[in-house]
């Protein structure tokens, strides 16, 4: 990679504001491994230039495959940024996530107390197969009539997932080796997790939905995480019923699966913005209940990140945008379904496209190749700083205020996202940029 160079003519922000790297860049060479919204956003960013394969880059939005093959062989200068952590899979592979969460929970129980540990009870009982098969059978028999869901650890978009109620179903499956045609290599035994299926999901008008929420992590040690205000609720296109567990379309809410459902109407769109959902829930259950719910959701993000804090290789070049999938049950308890290291950036509609553009623009603002931030910001565009080596509050906490009781968390999921206005006040435009 090229050495640090300040391009001529670059004027940074004035005087007393300290920049992080010492110098911002006016010309950023980027590599982009994806051909969807992110590519548009990168290409439209003033001063950012795409480099072809083999060229040197300052910024790399890569896919996990590239990462796996190249990360270890790349030397990155200090200013360079890349969009994944080397071993993100500790959080995003279903079996590893569960393992890390279980271990973290045990630690909490030991070092704090049961109450503290109980704050980690946001994922359903999960067992890795085949390694934990016997433990799983024990649990399975303990709760007769329960429904379980089988998920391959490494696949996405709902592929390979099925529900079952009888041990017979999976014994058959094991024997037949119902691995799909995607399984090329016989030598690689695919890992699965068996997870207790949430049989009482919160339904809206008889339909099941899950939440997709975006969390940006710029550092694990210390842990610094941002929560985006927008997100969406993805609805299943048919009514929920426990009687037809073979019906993928009822139970899986990924847009990818829904798109193949017979009555899927692409014009219809089966998503609500999270603001919509929040209003709806508030109208139904009242403000306090919904605020408590969103606080519980915040808890999921923080705890899950804390559980892998010591495991993830904390490389200062790395940042990562996670897509969290959350399910609500009828008691309005949120459950963590999974964390995605590569949330889909393909847009399903014009509205979706704009939302993802804004999300990615704000992500780039926070990564701050241009060196415009001081590092003290609690909000950038649609992102609110959720955790900065400790909880972040909307109120400015100082020596005088400690001792007073009411602190509100600095998270606004599902709230108004007036990012344009906020950005205008926060950032000086990049040279060459139109007024936001």
């Amino acid at each position: 990679m090229a050495k640090n160079k300040t391009a001529a003519g670059y004027k940074g922000p004035s005087g007393d504001q300290k920049r992080r790297d010492g110098e911002g860049r006016s010309c950023v060479r980027f590599r982009c491994g994806l051909t969807n919204t992110i590519q548009d956003v990168l290409r439209q960013r003033p001063g950012w230039v795409e480099v072809k394969d083999g060229g040197e880059w300052d910024f790399n939005w890569c896919d996990v495959g590239w990462l796996r093959e190249n990360f270890d062989h790349s030397y990155m200068e200090e200013h360079v940024r890349i969009s994944h952590f080397r071993n993100h899979y500790e959080l995003t592979r279903k079996n590893l996530m569960v393992k890390n969460l279980k271990r973290y929970r045990k630690t909490l129980e030991r070092e704090a107390d049961r109450i503290e540990a109980a704050k980690c009870d946001f994922f359903p009982r999960t067992f890795e197969l085949p390694s934990e098969y016997h433990l799983f059978v024990e649990e399975f028999k303990r709760i007769p009539g329960s429904t379980w869901i089988m998920k391959p650890v490494a696949r996405s978009q709902g592929k390979g997932i099925f529900l079952f109620r009888k041990l017979k179903d999976i014994i058959d499956w094991k024997k037949d080796g119902i691995r799909s045609d995607e399984q090329r290599d016989e030598t690689q035994v695919e890992s699965y997790v068996a997870q207790r299926y949430i049989e009482n999901p919160y339904l809206i008008s008889g339909r099941k939905f899950d939440l997709r929420v975006y969390v940006l992590v710029t550092s694990y040690i210390p842990l610094k995480a941002w929560l985006y205000r927008d997100g969406f609720a993805r609805f299943s296109s048919t009514r929920f019923s426990l009687t037809s567990i073979d019906d993928h379309y009822v139970h899986l809410t990924n847009v990818a699966v829904q798109k193949t459902a017979p009555d899927y109407d692409p014009e219809k769109g089966c998503k609500w913005q999270v603001q919509q959902l929040r209003s709806y829930l508030t109208a139904r259950h009242g403000r306090e209940t919904v605020e408590a719910l969103f606080k519980d959701i915040d808890n999921i993000f923080v705890r899950s990140l804390q559980s892998v804090q010591k495991v993830i290789i904390n490389d200062k070049h790395c940042f990562e945008l996670y897509g969290y999938d959350i399910l609500l049950d009828q008691d309005l308890k949120p459950w963590l379904i999974e964390v995605n290291a590569s949330p889909s950036l393909t847009a399903s509609s014009q509205e979706d496209y704009e939302m993802k553009c804004h999300l990615l623009e704000d992500t780039l603002h926070i990564v701050d190749m241009e060196g415009r931030l001081t590092g003290k910001e609690k909000r950038v565009g649609g992102y609110d700083l959720m955790w900065n080596d400790g909880p972040v509050y909307t109120e400015d906490v100082n020596l005088e205020t400690t001792g007073s009781c009411c602190f509100t968390a600095n998270t606004h999921l599902g709230c108004v996202n007036n990012r344009k206005k906020q950005l205008r006040q926060l950032l000086k435009p990049i040279p060459g940029q139109k007024r936001i």
Binding site: S205, T238, R239, S279, N418
Partner: protein, 517 residues
């Protein structure tokens, strides 16, 4: 005509007449009888004690709410010799216009019937009944073949009635050339004083940058109190400044005096049974409407099933026929087969007298956000319909009627944005052509849900649809700059196509209180 005293006693008599025999009446009687067992009721002061008891137990308040409802909804009493059509609609030419419009709709319905060979009503065979009962909660999954059914469209006509009215000196540029009384901005400033710039509003003063202690917290506290007191009139007054999301469902039910007693639930279930037993032609129109409008809406697609559950029952609810005493429309009649023209064999069709038109389901959809129990949702919708929505599709002289709204919209535009109006007229883009569809639906489906609910708060609060015309005008004012640049109707439509980002209260407030007059 009548002196105040006579008018008052007539009103009282009318209300007593209407409340007699209702569930409320029998409940209060029963409560009064039962309270006689209580120790605090003494024979000497029986009357006062019973009255006191009814007040303390909340029954007096319920009666008060019921009376208030009648006062709001029923037309003022008039001379005993007045024929009922005149009560519904005093202006002769309006009655004529409404009658001829009704004829057209009925003709279209009947011809569809004959063309397709589908009966207006038929009894369902037992198998079908059973199937429908099982599927009641997911009727949206049905995909009946609706291609042959044409939706009933409401379109804009120019009812240029000059008849006996003298030609006015002013010229009106709009499509509506009817001399109805509509209010201007100075008059509305008085009427809508709670919306003024110095008064707090939900939809403005609850946004992120305004500290909640300035208005929101106190407003919510008052709202909780209002709900506690169960006072319809207070709730209505309160709603003028907007209802907090968490309290809105209760407040609207209170304003509409919409209850969910066991009798109400039973009534709903009876209607549901009616749906199961008989299939009506209008059911197809309802299905078609829901599939075409609400199901395709980003916000409301989720509620498809609720919409069927409400609208199918609504069509069969003969209680709705009551509202025709003050609705300029007349319920369409149909005749038993072979007995056309014989009055004894005439039935109202559909049973509730309302033929659903394209977009009708959008009146129900926003309510699904607030109520999820079907009987409750139904009760609220029905009341909203017989108080407000019916005026949006019948021709009358009412200030909340679609005619007045259209006229008011045009007048406001012509008075305050003459340059814009003139320009649009010149390019063949009469503003009403665009605004009409917004107003007929009270903006449902055009605004984002939370904004729509804030607008409907004010409709309930001021007991009038006038605000809809004001909003329509203020949208034009807001986009005036862009509209001045367009050169065709199509481009004007494009500028005004997407209202989903609008914030209604600031627009209305600015238009009413910051426009130079």
């Amino acid at each position: 005509m009548m002196d105040e005293g006579t008018e008052l006693s007539l009103t009282v008599a009318q209300i007593v007449q209407r409340l007699k025999g209702t569930n409320l009446h029998s409940e209060i009687e029963r409560q009064a009888k039962e309270c006689l067992h209580l120790p605090e009721i003494t024979l000497e002061s029986l009357k006062n004690d019973v009255r006191h008891f009814l007040k303390a137990s909340g029954w007096e308040r319920k009666l008060q709410n019921a009376v208030y409802r009648e006062l709001l909804v029923q037309p003022p009493p008039c001379h005993p010799a007045t024929p009922p059509e005149h009560t519904k609609e005093p202006l002769a030419y309006m009655r004529k216009a409404q009658a001829s419009w009704e004829k057209r709709i009925l003709k279209s319905l009947n011809s569809m019937c004959t063309e397709l060979g589908v009966p207006l009503a038929r009894k369902r065979p037992a198998v079908e009944q059973k199937e429908l009962t099982n599927k009641w909660n997911e009727m949206g999954t049905d995909e009946p073949d609706l291609s042959r059914f044409r939706p009933v469209l409401i379109s804009l006509r120019n009812p240029n009635h000059d008849s006996s009215e003298e030609a006015s000196a002013k010229s009106y540029w709009g499509l509506i050339q009817v001399p109805l009384q509509v209010r201007d901005i100075p008059q509305m400033r008085e009427a809508y004083s709670e919306l003024c710039l110095t008064s707090g509003q939900l939809g403005i003063d609850d946004l992120t940058r305004v500290p909640p202690d300035l208005f929101e917290s106190e407003h919510i506290r008052v709202g909780k109190k209002v709900v506690c007191e169960q006072d319809s009139a207070a709730a209505q007054q309160y709603s003028r400044q907007g209802c907090p999301t968490a309290l809105r469902a209760d407040l609207w039910a209170l304003i509409l005096n919409s209850t969910n007693t066991p009798e109400d639930v039973m009534h709903y279930n009876q209607l549901k049974a009616g749906v199961i037993h008989h299939d009506l032609l209008v059911d197809k129109l309802i299905y078609k409407d829901v599939k075409l409008t609400a199901s395709n809406d980003d916000y409301y697609f989720v509620f498809e099933d609720y919409l069927y559950q409400v609208l199918l029952c609504f069509s069969r609810d003969t209680a709705v026929l009551d509202h025709f005493s003050y609705n300029s429309a007349t319920p369409p009649k149909s005749y038993i087969e072979g007995r056309v023209g014989e009055e004894e064999f005439a039935v109202v069709y559909p049973p509730n007298g309302v033929i659903p038109f394209h977009g009708f389901s959008m009146y129900v959809a926003p309510l699904c956000f607030l109520y999820n129990e079907p009987s409750k949702l139904y009760a609220v919708f029905r009341e909203m319909y017989v108080r407000y929505f019916f005026r949006l599709h019948s021709i009358s002289s009412s200030t909340s009627g679609i005619m007045s709204l259209c006229l008011q919209f045009e007048r406001l535009l012509q008075t305050h944005l003459p340059q814009l109006f003139y320009h649009l007229r010149e390019i063949g883009a009469q503003p009403l052509r665009v605004a009409f569809k917004w107003m007929v639906r009270a903006f449902s489906g055009y605004l984002s849900t939370d904004q729509l609910l804030l607008l409907w708060d004010r409709i309930l609060g001021y007991d009038s649809l006038e605000i809809v015309a004001v909003l329509a005008a203020s949208v034009f004012a807001f986009r005036a700059e862009n509209l001045m640049e367009v050169t065709s109707l199509a481009s004007a439509e494009a500028v005004l196509a997407d209202l989903s980002t609008l914030k209604v209260m600031p627009l209305i407030q600015i238009f009413l209180f910051a426009t130079a007059i």
